[in-house]
C-alpha cells in the first residue's frame, strides 16, 4: 500500500472512458457519418419547384380542414365499429394462435426441428409491415374487413409469439424439473410449470396488442382492408377535408383512451 500522502501532491482526475476506445475509429466513424449525410442530401432528387407548388395546396387542405365537421358522423361510427371488430377479432385469434407458435419457438422446451419451424413462422410474419401484408390479403380475399382481420392476425402472431417465446426461454426451470421429477407428461408440464409463469406477460401483451391492432387497423384500412382507414381514405378522395380532419381527431382520441385503459390493466395484473 502506498501511503496516502504520496499521491496528495498530484490531484487524481477521472473521465468516463469513451464508448469507442480507439480514437482513430471513433473520429473516423463520425467523419464517415457527416460525409454520408452531406452526400445523401446533395444527391437525392429534391424537386424544389414541386415543393414550392405543393405548399399552397397543403395550405388549402389544412384550411379546408378547419373547422373539422362531424356532420357525417354515421359514417364515422360505422367505420370505427368495423375497426374495433377487426382489432378485437384479430387480437383474440392472433393471441390464441401465438401461444402454440411461442411454445414451438422456445429453445428450452421445443426439440430442434420444431423450434426451427416455430422460429420460421414468427420471423416470416414479422418481416413485412402490416400495410404490405394487407395489400397481399386484399388481393387474395378482396376489399373489406376480412383482409384486415387476416393481416392483423399475422401481425399479432409475429409480435406476441416472439416476445412470448423469449419469455418462455427465461422461465424458472426449477418448476419444470419438479414436474418432470413427479413423472408429469409434456402437456401437464406446459400447463403447470410453463403457462402460469408467462401468464402475466401474456395478458399484458394481449392488452398491448389490442391497442396496437386498433392503430394498425386504421392504417390497413387505407389500402382497402376495411374499417376507419377506408372511411378516412374516402373522405380525402372526395375532398371532404373537414370530415377527414374530424376522423383524424377522433382516431387520436380513441388511441389515447385505449392506451390509457391498456396501461391501467397491465399495471393491475402485473
Amino acid at each position: 500500500m502506498t501511503p496516502p500522502d504520496a499521491q496528495a501532491s498530484t490531484p487524481r482526475t477521472w473521465k468516463k472512458p469513451p464508448f469507442i476506445a480507439n480514437p482513430l475509429l471513433r473520429y473516423g466513424l463520425i467523419l464517415v457519418g457527416v460525409v454520408y449525410l452531406v452526400w445523401a442530401f446533395g444527391s437525392l432528387p429534391f424537386n424544389w419547384e414541386r415543393i414550392a407548388e405543393g405548399l399552397p395546396r397543403a395550405g388549402r387542405i389544412f384550411g379546408g380542414g378547419f373547422p373539422p365537421s362531424l356532420e357525417r358522423y354515421e359514417l364515422l361510427i360505422t367505420g370505427f365499429k368495423e375497426s374495433f371488430q377487426i382489432a378485437i377479432m384479430a387480437t383474440l385469434l392472433g393471441v390464441l394462435l401465438s401461444i402454440p407458435f411461442a411454445v414451438m419457438a422456445a429453445r428450452n422446451i421445443a426439440p430442434m426441428p420444431i423450434y426451427i419451424i416455430g422460429r420460421a413462422v414468427i420471423i416470416i410474419s414479422r418481416s413485412f409491415h402490416p400495410v404490405i401484408v394487407a395489400i397481399l390479403f386484399v388481393a387474395a380475399v378482396g376489399f373489406g374487413p376480412l383482409a384486415g382481420i387476416l393481416t392483423l392476425i399475422l401481425y399479432s402472431i409475429g409480435f406476441v409469439g416472439k416476445l412470448l417465446a423469449e419469455e418462455i426461454e427465461e422461465i424458472d426451470w426449477g418448476q419444470v424439473e419438479a414436474m418432470k421429477a413427479a413423472g408429469a407428461g409434456y402437456g401437464a408440464i406446459l400447463f403447470y410449470a410453463v403457462f402460469p409463469q408467462i401468464l402475466p406477460r401474456q395478458v399484458g401483451l394481449s392488452m398491448y396488442q389490442l391497442d396496437s391492432n386498433l392503430r394498425a387497423s386504421a392504417v390497413v384500412g387505407i389500402v382497402g382492408a376495411g374499417g376507419i382507414g377506408s372511411t378516412l381514405m374516402n373522405a380525402f378522395g372526395r375532398y371532404d377535408y373537414d370530415f377527414a380532419f374530424a376522423i383524424l381527431l377522433v382516431i387520436i382520441a380513441v388511441i389515447l383512451i385505449s392506451e390509457g385503459i391498456s396501461g391501467w390493466v397491465r399495471k393491475k395484473i402485473w
Binding site: A178, K180, G185, G187, A193
Partner: protein, 265 residues
C-alpha cells in the same frame, strides 16, 4: 430398495463428475450424503430420477433398472421417486393445493390435470398430508405467499403425494434459517419412519447430518470415501471429505472442529 452400481457421469469430455459409485439403501433408512460443492452429490441424486443422464452404470429401484428407461416408462418410474429441492421449485403462481396435487401429475390424464378434476382419493390424501405437516389451512393460498419453511413443507408433501418408493432431498434446508432447517430435518426423519420410506438427503450441514440421519455417505471428487454410522464420522473423515480445509457452514460443533478452525486461521 435402491441399488446403485458403478455409476459414472461425465459432462462432455471433461473429467468425470461421478467415478464409479456404489450405494445400496434399504428399508426406511435416512441416509445423508455429504461432500464439498462439486463433489457430485447433486449429480448423483439427479441421476437416480434421470434429471441428469448417467453416462454408465446401473440404478435399480426395487429391482427395476432405471438407467435405460425412455418416454412413458421413464415417467412411470419417476412417479415412484419423490424429490425435494433446495429452492423448493414450487409453482409460485398456483395455490398450495394445486402444488400438492401436482405430485399426482404422473397418475392423472391431461384433461384431469388441466381441469383440476383429481380423483377424490388424491384430494383426501392431499388434506391428510397437509394436516400432518401443518399447512392444510393454506390450501387456497398462493404458493409464493408462504414463508421458506412452509414452502419446503409444500415441497415435501408434493413429493409424498407421488406415493414414492424412495425420497430424494437435494439440500432441502440450505435455503432456510437454522431453526426452520432443523424442523424440516425432523420432519423428513419422522416421515421416513411413518411411511417406511428410504430417504437420501444431500446436505452441507454435517452437524444436522449426524443428528438426524442414521447413515452418512461422504463423497469427494466423485468417489465415495466414507460410508458409515454418524458416530464413526470423526474429524479424520471430515478432513478426508472436505480436503483438510474448514468444513463449510457451522458444520461440526460437537467434535474438535473448533481447534481445527483455529489451526488454519
Amino acid at each position: 430398495m435402491l441399488e446403485i452400481t458403478n455409476l459414472v457421469k461425465r459432462y462432455g469430455h471433461d473429467e468425470a463428475v461421478l467415478k464409479g459409485l456404489d450405494l445400496k439403501v434399504e428399508g426406511n433408512s435416512v441416509v445423508s450424503i455429504v461432500g464439498a460443492s462439486g463433489a457430485g452429490k447433486s449429480t448423483m441424486l439427479r441421476c437416480i430420477n434421470r434429471l441428469v443422464e448417467p453416462t454408465s452404470g446401473s440404478i435399480k429401484l426395487n429391482g427395476n433398472e432405471l438407467v435405460h428407461l425412455r418416454g412413458a416408462e421413464l415417467r412411470r418410474a419417476r412417479r415412484k421417486i419423490g424429490m425435494v429441492f433446495q429452492g423448493f421449485n414450487l409453482l409460485d403462481r398456483l395455490t398450495v393445493m394445486e402444488n400438492v396435487l401436482a405430485g399426482r401429475l404422473g397418475y392423472v390424464n391431461l384433461y384431469q390435470a388441466i381441469s383440476r378434476r383429481y380423483p377424490q382419493s388424491d384430494i383426501e390424501r392431499a388434506f391428510v398430508l397437509m394436516e400432518r405437516v401443518g399447512i392444510a389451512h393454506y390450501a387456497n393460498k398462493r404458493a409464493d405467499e408462504l414463508s421458506g419453511g412452509e414452502r419446503q413443507r409444500v415441497g415435501v408433501v408434493r413429493a409424498l403425494m407421488q406415493e414414492p418408493d424412495v425420497l430424494l432431498a437435494d439440500e432441502p434446508t440450505a435455503s432456510l434459517d437454522p431453526r426452520t432447517s432443523e424442523q424440516i430435518m425432523v420432519l423428513l426423519q419422522s416421515l421416513a419412519s411413518e411411511l417406511s420410506l428410504p430417504v437420501l438427503i444431500n446436505i452441507h450441514n454435517v452437524a444436522q447430518a449426524k443428528t438426524y440421519t442414521e447413515r452418512i455417505v461422504g463423497l469427494r471428487h466423485g468417489k465415495m470415501i466414507f460410508d458409515g454410522l454418524p458416530a464413526d464420522f470423526n474429524k479424520d473423515a471430515l478432513d478426508a471429505i472436505y480436503g483438510g480445509i474448514d468444513a463449510p457452514d457451522d458444520a461440526i460443533t460437537d467434535t474438535p472442529a473448533e481447534e481445527h478452525a483455529h489451526d488454519s486461521a
